[in-house]
């Protein structure tokens, strides 16, 4: 494609010329153009991601007090955060929550996707759409809807359990809120993950199944030995997203706070705690430190995860 440019700056070595000069010439010609296409995004990236991150780091190194004014404390806020029971209990909660939620979500979405890949009727197509639908619902509204369903005042649980002479579980109580939230988040995201897995399954070459069947593989073997291994990269992608999302848990507990008075405190998750520090107490320095520490926790968790599941050619 760039024969003429290649010959203008023809290097001395003829063998090398065969391979290298094409790219060289190419790169010098395209260098500026490539940057021009990337530049608008780069500006946004630098000003709204890099700058705030650095700024958060900067803010987090100061402490504001009534008497002393603002003073530089380097990592003082981080030392404070990692010995602050409110922050630690929040971190512990989101980690525990992820450990239960993510496998559950994965199993549900993988199972549904496998069923939908197998059963091809109008009803399965309809189900696919309906199961996906909660993804289109704002987390706030989803939490609110389930909050209504859990509610003692106007939820159906009392009614349903009453039919069997049982008292309804209160998912907004301290003991069960974990499961109440687990249900909401699974409901909200399982369909989205299912669609990603389903699309990956649809991308598998069907002749593989034929070959396996001729070799005498059962449907189960085809599912477990062919389908699942071939969609590993989709599963890894989903896991990473679920992990990032869950560690930043904010919307659902924030909304349920009002409905479940007393169950969910302002330090329920690290993000809620950071929000409270920054916007209710105007302590931006400590709020930034918590945000940044949480960001670091997310980054480390994802990295550990990527390291454990490292697979050639997968996402990242």
């Amino acid at each position: 494609m760039t024969v003429h440019t290649a010959s203008t700056d023809a290097p001395v070595l003829p063998e090398v010329r065969q391979r290298r000069p094409r790219r060289r010439a190419d790169s010098s010609r395209h260098s500026v153009t490539g940057w021009l296409f990337v530049a608008p995004f780069a500006v946004v990236f630098l000003s709204l991601l890099v700058a705030p991150l650095l700024y958060a780091l900067y803010l987090s190194m100061f402490q504001k007090s009534m008497i002393g004014g603002t003073r530089f404390v380097l990592f003082g806020n981080y030392l404070k955060a990692f010995s602050d029971p409110s922050f630690l209990s929040g971190v512990w909660f989101v980690i525990l929550f992820s450990l239960v939620l993510i496998p559950l979500q994965m199993i549900v979405s993988l199972a549904v996707a496998l069923i939908l890949d197998q059963v091809t009727t109008w009803f399965s197509r309809f189900s696919r759409l309906m199961i996906f639908l909660p993804y289109a619902i704002p987390a706030v509204i989803g939490a609110l809807m389930w909050g209504f369903l859990y509610s003692k005042n106007f939820g159906p649980l009392a009614e349903i359990f009453g039919m069997f002479g049982q008292t309804a579980p209160d998912f907004l109580s301290k003991n069960l809120i974990f499961f109440g939230l687990l249900n909401i988040v699974t409901w909200q995201w399982a369909g989205y993950y299912m669609i990603i897995i389903y699309a990956a399954l649809q991308g598998i070459d069907p002749s593989l199944y034929e070959a396996a069947r001729i070799d005498g593989a059962s449907q189960w073997q085809i599912t477990l030995r062919i389908k699942v291994p071939l969609i590993t990269s989709a599963l890894v992608l989903i896991l990473v997203f679920a992990l990032i999302g869950t560690l930043q848990f904010f919307n659902e507990p924030q909304i349920l706070r009002y409905l479940a008075a007393g169950t969910i405190g302002p330090d329920f998750t690290p993000n809620m705690y950071a929000y409270q520090q920054a916007f209710a107490l105007a302590n931006y320095n400590y709020g930034s430190a918590i945000s940044f520490a949480l960001g670091a926790v997310v980054f480390i968790c994802v990295y550990i995860f990527m390291f454990v599941t490292r697979k050639r050619g997968s996402f990242l």
Binding site: G34, W35, V119, M145, Y258, A278, S291
Partner: protein
């Protein structure tokens, strides 16, 4: 699809075999739709119907959608309609902006070699892992120094950032836009910008629709960012607005009862636009959502 092309008896056999699976799917559909059903039924009730002890999953004697609608859109000077428009504005401007940036950058990364390309792309991939909420507090402080908190820009500008969109566009453009075609255009004298707009963009359309849809949804559903940035309730998007009402209604249990019926109808109305968008754009997103996972 494949069932339809099969021979009659085999097809019937498969159908039967899958009956248990279909029943299972039926249960799942009920589970996933129950909250919608609850909201649909209960937005027809007034306070008496809601708290009167009737069935929570069926209509009360007095079905009054119209009355609740009027109340919803006239309460507090019709603020709910404003919230809907705000949500639409943030979602459209933010979503379209984010998509334009992602398409251009994804194409740039995919089709050009330039100094610092590898490094920038590595940084970009790393940034996908930065939790969006970690940026809200420092961005708020930055914006307040610039004096743009509590304006529409405080919500729209951060929405423009979508590193994952760039990643998706890059993957898609790499395969969907052949270099030969671009070279042919260049030989024919088309400038780089024209080659991009007239050749690359049409080829990237499925990925563009997907990124657009994802950005619009993310923006429409956003809560933390506008909650932090905005204090004037006339600028709220519908998520923050309903959250506000819900807080008020929960706080004064008895006095807030009349608010509940408009909160419920308000929730229903707020989900309609995206549900319609997803149902009508099915053919685009169903394939598009897989882009990131097939690689």
């Amino acid at each position: 699809m494949s069932a339809a092309t099969m021979a009659g008896p085999a097809r019937r056999a498969r159908r039967k075999q899958y009956l248990p699976l279909q029943v299972l799917l039926g249960f799942l559909v009920v589970y996933f739709l129950i909250p919608f059903w609850w909201v649909f039924v209960n937005s027809s009730k007034d306070a008496a119907g809601l708290f009167g002890g009737g069935s929570a999953l069926w209509f009360a004697d007095d079905v009054d959608y119209v009355g609740n609608f009027i109340q919803l859109f006239t309460f507090d000077g019709g603020i709910y309609g404003r919230w809907l428009l705000n949500s639409a504005l943030y979602a459209v401007v933010g979503g379209v902006g984010a998509t334009l940036l992602a398409v251009s950058a994804g194409y740039g990364f995919a089709k050009f070699r330039f100094a610092g390309r590898r490094f920038s792309f590595a940084v970009l991939l790393g940034s996908v892992m930065v939790p969006a909420t970690a940026l809200v507090i420092p961005t708020f402080v930055m914006f307040s120094q610039l004096g743009i908190t509590n304006t529409i820009w405080a919500v729209i500008l951060p929405t423009l950032l979508n590193p994952f969109g760039v990643y998706l566009m890059n993957i898609y453009a790499r395969d969907a836009v052949p270099d030969e075609l671009l070279d042919a255009a260049r030989v024919d004298g088309a400038g780089e910008f024209r080659a991009f707009v007239q050749i690359a963009v049409p080829l990237m359309r499925p990925a563009i629709v997907t990124v657009l849809l994802l950005s619009v949804v993310a923006s429409w559903n956003n809560y933390f960012l506008p909650l932090a940035m905005l204090s004037d309730n006339r600028l709220f998007p519908v998520t923050v607005g309903i959250g506000l009402w819900q807080g008020i209604a929960s706080a004064n249990n008895a006095g807030g009862t009349s608010l509940w019926s408009i909160i419920i109808l308000g929730s229903l109305v707020s989900v309609i636009p995206l549900v319609i968008a997803f149902l009508t754009l099915q053919r685009y997103w169903q394939g598009g959502l897989a882009i990131g996972s097939l690689k």
